[in-house]
Chain length 214, copies 2
Amino acid sequence: MNETIVSRQALSRMPAYLQYLHMIDKLGRAFVTATEVAEALRLNPIQVRKDIAAVSKKPGKPMVGFCVKELIRDFNEFLAYENVKDAVLVGTGALGSALLNYSGFSGCGIRLAAVFDKDPEKIGKRIGGHTVSDAGELAGFCRKSGILIGIVAVPDYVAQGVCDQLVAGGVRAIWNFAPAHLSVPGDVILQNENLVASLTVLSKRLAERLEQKQ
Amino acid sequence: MNETIVSRQALSRMPAYLQYLHMIDKLGRAFVTATEVAEALRLNPIQVRKDIAAVSKKPGKPMVGFCVKELIRDFNEFLAYENVKDAVLVGTGALGSALLNYSGFSGCGIRLAAVFDKDPEKIGKRIGGHTVSDAGELAGFCRKSGILIGIVAVPDYVAQGVCDQLVAGGVRAIWNFAPAHLSVPGDVILQNENLVASLTVLSKRLAERLEQKQ
């Protein structure tokens, strides 16, 4: 129905809309206006109206707004959250463990099917509700279980090897936390989460701001 | 000297350049061409040339390229990595602990001055080489120590309160990991690291790709 092309920026705002809608739904609110959503999330109302129009099947009623439950359903459907996809996590160091314990994923349409590490000390141990599997079995497991998403949380110098195993296992999207540039075939989605790069941007913006003040 | 306005995308590529330059410097390489950098990092050579031109004081020599050590110095200077800034981390849950143990920050020009939590069970304990301080002392500590950067790794429902304390303490930039929209004064830089939003973008891109195949 709604095949509007939506920008990455718009997509990245949508979890916040859903979070807010779930909150007011719990409080018993039946309707909400785009202006209220914008004010609550400190966003531009025009932007919010446009984002809602991209996912919602029904226009809002004047003065009343949108039905909260319908809007939740529309966002869930648009974000394909109801269409749960299986993922594996590779690496159970500090970052991998944090990801395992990160509560935010549960509502994202991602199910963590298995967790891998190559450290014999960790294989077989339980972390965050998962038994750690041998990284040597990664490609075989992905292939057999139809895993679509691989989360890479290993040191940078082994990241490409892990990525290659995931691709060999038929994984279609890689979420990479290693500060390394990975090479993937054209039909595999690669999304890098480079915290150093992000901190560099912050640090540089701060330096520029401080220079302006001088 | 080089006051070219550089995009966030360009900035976020620079840590990878530095990483690669340090690597070949250790291997004893004296010169490198933009094409080599582009090939090693699987980037567009025109983009790499433009990025280097934005930070480098000297043009590369034809056929020889850039002096590796000079290029490292130029990137460090441009990124203000040498101008170390003090930061505090608030929240020592799974994500906060992972950030404490994340090795990538050390080279970023950020020094973690202190770590805070409000949990009495955690205050006074050692985590990742830091003794956890009482979050009640956050604003006072930041003010007294001239802290410039606050890293927020607390649950979303307390994030705004922590942010307000950081701002009250004179912090000029906030790196927010809580999946919450924070409100800051106009002269404070806010950078959100929303993993749920990021995973949503990945999941949606994957869903679209899978639909195309059908």
